[in-house]
């Protein structure tokens, strides 16, 4: 069997996913159930994002895939290859050149434009899940707009630790109605959720799709006396010197020496190409990175 349909999924499956995407856009932050299919990669490895991308891609698209902000992580490579093979789309590592970006755990540093679409891979779409394991119960809570449990959790954090102890998958409220899980992005990325591009979220194993139209109001939950803070490591990138990007920490020797570098590899590379050099960086050379 070699002859798979364009973008792998059959047309009926794509229609079902497309209908779910439209309802998701019409009800921002609400999780639309969809009949997720078994994909040729494991659940938990981006099957939701892959199904959404498959339903959205056209042959004219330029596709970018990142995992942890990087184009070269193995699962990003694997997903990018899947769509090169099944949809014949052009691929890129440059954020600005991409028309569709599939991501796991990051939003690119560069602001997305109106003509760009970002597809998030979501492991657990239900923001209330770790407070209430039952789907029957959490669905009721959303319908009644009963989010007290979430505020109690955040408040207990404050009383125990003096701060909200959630650093990623930080819950947001969308258009003043639904509490939404932004997928496990670091809370540093939360302010970017209000953007010009279309944001689509796919959770394959949990069979949910949700969406944020451009310019949708997205507020990170907080308290007046403990306002939300988008934090990052208090360093500059050691490769490109950027002090405004989210950083990965690397252990570089046995003595516990460490360095910090941009998690968004395209952003870092572009800055270095433009002549920026960080404390431990080398001047940019073609093919060096």
């Amino acid at each position: 069997m070699t002859d798979y349909n364009f973008a792998y999924l059959d047309e009926q499956t794509k229609r079902m996913i497309r209908r779910a995407i439209l309802k998701g856009l019409a009800i921002p932050g609400y999780q639309v159930p969809f009949a997720s299919r078994e994909m040729p990669m494991p659940y938990g490895w981006g099957t939701g994002g892959v199904q959404v991308s498959a339903a959205v891609l056209t042959p004219d698209d330029v596709f970018k895939v990142i995992d942890q902000g990087a184009d070269d992580t193995t699962n990003a490579v694997s997903i990018r290859r899947f769509f090169q093979k099944t949809a014949g789309v052009a691929v890129t590592e440059a954020t600005t050149e991409a028309s569709v970006i599939q991501t796991r755990h990051r939003i690119p540093e560069e602001a997305l434009r109106e003509d760009q679409i970002i597809v998030y891979q979501v492991p657990i779409p239900e923001p209330l899940r770790f407070l209430e394991p039952s789907e029957v119960e959490t669905r009721k809570m959303h319908s009644l707009e009963e989010y007290g449990l979430m505020h109690v959790k955040l408040y207990e954090d404050i009383s125990q630790h003096g701060a909200i102890a959630t650093s990623y998958a930080y819950p947001v409220k969308v258009e003043g109605r639904y509490v939404m899980d932004p997928s496990p992005i670091p809370k540093f990325d939360n302010p970017k959720l209000e953007m010009a591009g279309i944001q689509l979220f796919g959770a394959g194993r949990e069979q949910r799709i949700y969406a944020l139209p451009p310019y949708t109001k997205v507020v990170s939950l907080d308290f007046d006396d403990f306002p939300f803070e988008a934090t990052k490591a208090d360093h500059a990138c050691d490769l490109c010197g950027a002090d405004d990007s989210y950083l990965d920490e690397l252990i570089v020797d046995d003595a516990g020496g460490r360095m910090f570098m941009c998690s968004d590899t395209d952003y870092c590379g572009k800055r270095r190409k433009d002549g920026h050099v960080g404390a431990q960086g080398v001047p940019y050379q073609e093919d060096a990175a």
């Binding site: 059959d10 490579v77 796991r104 701060a163 990052k232 490769l239 360095m259 570098m261 990175a289």
Partner: protein
């Protein structure tokens, strides 16, 4: 000076090449054929068909070969293939009354029409390693009995006649399809049974065992366990009648469980049901027990808080493809999230230390 590492693409290619080599193993040993797997590892093939929800022994055998014998991986291959197949229509319900039984046992009656047929069972084998198999796998000729063509009536039908067993309501004409619509709770029995029949054998077994040990105990008698081939028929609208399109081997288990009744209703036994592709007896019995435990609500029983009574718990966690994928995904890079946790914990520790110092 630090130069960022790249190499994901190459690493993947090399890993795949190595995997292929490992799968083949020592080339001095003859390669295993798909036919050999189908014939000689038939119970593995059956499990892959049952949990892969696709009745195709050749493909299941191929999947086992490709997966190096990892049955969950093989089930995954079959599931992923299955979703790409066009759906031409639905078959008529199979008639297990008409099953040509290879095995048929009842624990509730010493004998019944159709008799007890042990069939090819491990039951009374002594579990002693047979070292002869290591040398040569040939078996002596087996005595043959004439093929039984008369239908074997279900044991349950005898209890039914006396009205001793609860009759089952006839469900909606077309049951919902778990593979085409998202799971929605509460799930009706048809949907629960679908989830159980493709659920992980080990998980269903564990759940069933827990009911036997007292977590929502509903003592089960195996009224009947039958294994054999049934015809699959499909209505052809152009013809106006159903034609046989194939034959599948199924394992069916019906249990008789503790009775219930009230002042107005005379007591009746209740049922649990299991039906699984292939010769998959452990799974079918387990399924019947879990089915029965999940029926507490419709039978007016108490919710004892037992895991096997919790349909959300059972249905959301029975699928080994969902479970294994999510479990194994934690080996993917998570360093962005871990970094955010590192920063948070360092910050909290700094603050706590400052407070301590201030207090001293």
């Amino acid at each position: 000076m630090y130069v960022a590492v790249k190499g994901g693409e190459k690493a993947i290619d090399n890993a795949h090449a190595w995997l292929a080599e490992e799968r083949r193993g020592d080339t001095a040993v003859a390669a295993l054929s798909v036919a050999q797997i189908r014939q000689q590892l038939a119970l593995a093939v059956n499990r892959v068909m049952a949990e892969g929800s696709l009745y195709d022994p050749d493909l299941a055998a191929l999947a086992i070969k490709q997966a190096r014998g990892d049955l969950i991986e093989a089930i995954f291959l079959i599931r992923a293939y299955r979703t790409t197949l066009p759906r031409f229509g639905g078959s008529a319900p199979v008639d297990t009354d008409a099953m040509v039984c290879d095995r048929r046992v009842s624990a509730t009656f010493k004998d019944a029409p159709g008799g007890q047929v042990l069939g090819p069972t491990f039951d009374y084998t002594h579990r002693l390693l047979d070292f002869k198999l290591a040398a040569d796998g040939e078996v002596p000729a087996v005595p043959q009995a004439p093929i039984q063509t008369a239908p074997t009536p279900h044991i349950m039908s005898f209890l039914d006649r006396e009205d001793l067993i609860q009759s089952e309501p006839v469900g909606p004409e077309t049951p919902p399809d778990l593979t085409r619509t998202p799971l929605e709770l509460p799930a009706d029995r048809a949907l629960r049974l679908q989830a159980l029949t493709r659920g992980d054998e080990g998980f269903i077994l564990g759940m069933a065992y827990s009911t036997q040990r007292g977590y929502a105990r509903n003592h089960a008698f195996v009224a009947e366990l039958r294994i054999g081939a049934v015809a699959v028929e499909m209505d052809i609208p152009e013809l106006g009648f159903a034609i046989e399109i194939g034959e599948v081997t199924l394992t069916e288990c019906e249990t008789v469980n503790q009775f219930q009744g009230s002042k107005t209703q005379p007591p009746q036994f209740t049922r649990g049901y299991g039906l699984v592709f292939g010769m998959t007896e452990r799974k079918a019995i387990s399924m019947a027990l879990v089915d029965r435990a999940l029926r507490w609500k419709e039978l007016g029983e108490d919710n004892l808080g037992a895991p096997a009574q919790d349909e959300e718990f059972v249905l959301y966690h029975a699928d080994n493809i969902q479970a294994t994928g999510f479990l194994e995904h934690i080996k993917l890079p998570h360093y962005v999230d871990f970094q955010s946790e590192l920063e948070l914990i360092r910050k909290l520790r700094r603050e706590a230390q400052t407070m301590q110092e201030a207090a001293q």
